[in-house]
């Protein structure tokens, strides 16, 4: 009962958050100087043409009126029409979402692997120079944001030792037989490993840049929890039973130490998704973030709104899932 009430309360605050985001972005976008309609018409356009098109996009009404019209559309799945591309915003945004999702998830996987290795190695070799080395590396990785890692990776593996692609999502000259926009997944499903390799080689550096700070956080927190768990009685018991150090860490300590890391990863994952905006720009990767920056530069108001709302929905959804997971996994909260 209590869990149910907590969930309902949580859903309500989520709804308030999303409405708040919608209102703010709507107002901010509308005080942007520069007339998007004038920008999309050829230089010879008359004032009449501009007025007609302004009315067509509903930009001649007051901001609250515009908001209500827009909100009613959104509830029916209509996010308006992009001013530059002249296509429905929803189609454009959903077309780019898979690219960003694949990039974010790949980054998450890399972060979990790197962070996991760092934490396990640090625990296995605790109180040695190896642990000190891991701590220093973690500290560095954490201090430098993804944008700088991206630039350093471009320099290292795109220019000095050019083994990865540093621009785009796939080599443009390749024929793509895909029917969805999930290139990475679909190339695997279709067993086109040549394409898959090309796509991975484009995604790897941007994903790594996004992953490094998160890997450091996972490494630090998981190592800390593991080291605390290693002092508990049941771990000592397992050790006296004669189990080796590796077994004790992986089988006994890890399952109990992983919960705090799990919840933190959820929150940090939203930061990672936010980071895709600039990383996609840096690597000319055709995802949502890159489209968003173009939309701002082109003053494409409906498109900006659509993308920001979509990001907000993703963020709140990730947070919601993490909170629910935590409530389900943590027995104290379930009965509290």
């Amino acid at each position: 009962m209590q869990l149910l009430r907590a969930i309902l309360q949580r859903l309500l605050t989520t709804a308030i958050t999303l409405i708040g985001v919608a209102v703010i972005v709507f107002v901010v976008v509308r005080v942007v100087p520069g007339n998007p309609i004038a920008m999309m018409l050829p230089p010879g356009a008359t004032d009449e043409d501009i007025a007609r098109l302004t009315a067509q996009y509903g930009l001649d009404k007051t901001i609250p009126e515009q908001f209500l019209i827009w909100a009613r559309g959104v509830l029916h799945g209509d996010f308006g029409t992009s001013i530059t591309a002249r296509q429905p915003v929803l189609d454009l945004v959903l077309g780019r979402l898979p690219a960003t999702l694949e990039l974010s998830l790949m980054a998450l996987v890399i972060a979990v692997i790197l962070g996991g290795i760092a934490a396990l190695t640090g625990t296995r070799k605790r109180d040695t120079l190896t642990e000190a080395g891991i701590d220093i590396t973690n500290g560095m990785a954490l201090s430098i944001p993804d944008f700088l890692w991206g630039l350093l990776l471009i320099l290292a593996f795109g220019v000095l030792v050019p083994i990865f692609h540093i621009s785009g999502r796939v080599t443009p000259s390749l024929e793509l037989p895909f029917t969805t926009d999930f290139y990475l997944v679909e190339s695997l499903v279709r067993l086109r490993f040549d394409l898959w390799l090309d796509i991975v080689s484009h995604m790897f550096l941007p994903a790594l840049a996004l992953a490094i700070p998160l890997a450091a956080i996972i490494g630090q927190l998981l190592k800390q929890s593991l080291k605390e768990t290693m002092h508990l009685d049941y771990v000592t018991l397992a050790r006296t039973k004669g189990y080796g150090e590796n077994h004790v860490i992986l089988r006994e300590a890890l399952p109990n130490a992983i919960l705090p890391t799990l919840t933190l990863v959820g929150v940090q994952f939203t930061f990672l998704i936010g980071g895709t905006v600039i990383i996609e720009r840096l690597f000319s990767y055709e995802g949502l973030g890159n489209m968003a920056i173009d939309a701002v530069i082109n003053r494409d108001l409906p498109l900006i709104q659509g993308i920001v709302i979509l990001f907000a929905v993703i963020f709140t959804a990730v947070n919601l899932v993490v909170d629910l997971l935590y409530a389900v996994l943590n027995p104290r909260l379930r009965h509290g």
Binding site: T13, T17, G20, F147, L151, L155, G274, V308
Partner: protein, 283 residues
């Protein structure tokens, strides 16, 4: 074992001094740029385009770190770029800190509807992708130093508000606060005289970290070409130019990038070092 621990401890002190030293160096460069820069950072000379740094072949004396494609001196531009980086770090960092910490303190100590409103605002802010939000704000405010500072304050106040709110809440539940109230202090008095001093170490650490973040945000906005007018040399602007010609003249990208890297690292290591030394809360 003891060796490793001693090493870590010594490293912490060294880290504090190294980062403070680098920041002092950047500050000196920013203050003295007009006098110590060997060239005018804006002077173009197409005959001197893409000169390599001093240890390579085909250099021109006086251009230590080479020139960019328009023949502008890279070293002079980095020195002048330090001014904008530092102005943004100090002003945007301090303003963000003042606003964020005040709201956090109010929410955490007064609770009630104040907390409700501020917490909802934090939730809403956390649902925006920050880079996109800052680009949008610059599009609204127009390019320029003031716009960048405003954008950073508007976006990052939640960093302070969240931590300070939680901390003020924890402190507010402690006995000494109750005794202060019994002894006749007003609520505002308790907040400023009792809670604030206890939260201050946390705030100082966050401020140091925020300065590093502000430098990065300025670089990102310059990179997207939305920062200052293209006349003023900024590290981010130099990096953006360097990125396009990295195959022809790597030094145009590398030197500002290394400077930015070290500066951001220094701010964050300074913050971490202060945290380890003085702040029992954030550790």
């Amino acid at each position: 074992m003891a060796d490793a621990r001693a090493l870590v401890h010594r490293r912490a002190g060294l880290r504090l001094w190294l980062s403070a030293g680098w920041i002092a160096l950047v500050a000196a460069a920013a203050l003295l740029a007009p006098w110590i820069a060997p060239h005018d950072p804006l002077a173009q000379d197409l005959f001197l385009g893409r000169l390599p740094p001093f240890w390579m072949e085909g250099t021109e004396p006086g251009y230590w770190l080479g020139t960019d494609s328009l023949g502008r001196d890279v070293l002079s531009r980095i020195l002048h770029g330090a001014r904008i980086a530092l102005i943004v770090a100090v002003i945007a960092g301090t303003l963000t800190c003042l606003i964020g910490a005040t709201l956090g303190l109010l929410a955490g100590f007064l609770r009630g509807w104040v907390d409700l409103v501020i917490s909802r605002l934090i939730d809403i802010w956390m649902a925006f992708p920050p880079v996109l939000f800052s680009i949008l704000l610059i599009a609204v405010l127009g390019p320029g130093l003031t716009s960048i500072i405003i954008a950073i304050v508007v976006i990052d106040w939640t960093r302070f508000a969240r931590v300070v709110r939680a901390e003020a809440m924890a402190q507010g539940a402690m006995d000494y606060v109750a005794s202060a109230r019994v002894a006749g202090r007003t609520r505002i008095g308790t907040m400023l005289r009792e809670i604030l001093p206890n939260v201050l170490p946390t705030i100082v650490v966050l401020l140091t970290l925020e300065m590093g973040i502000a430098v990065i945000v300025e670089a990102i906005l310059s990179f997207v070409n939305l920062s200052i007018s293209t006349d003023d040399p900024t590290w981010g602007g130099m990096i953006a130019e360097g990125r396009t010609s990295v195959h022809q003249a790597w030094w145009v990208l590398v030197f500002p990038l290394v400077t930015l890297f070290l500066t951001v690292l220094a701010f964050s290591q300074l913050g971490e070092g202060l945290k380890d030394r003085y702040d029992p809360v954030l550790q």
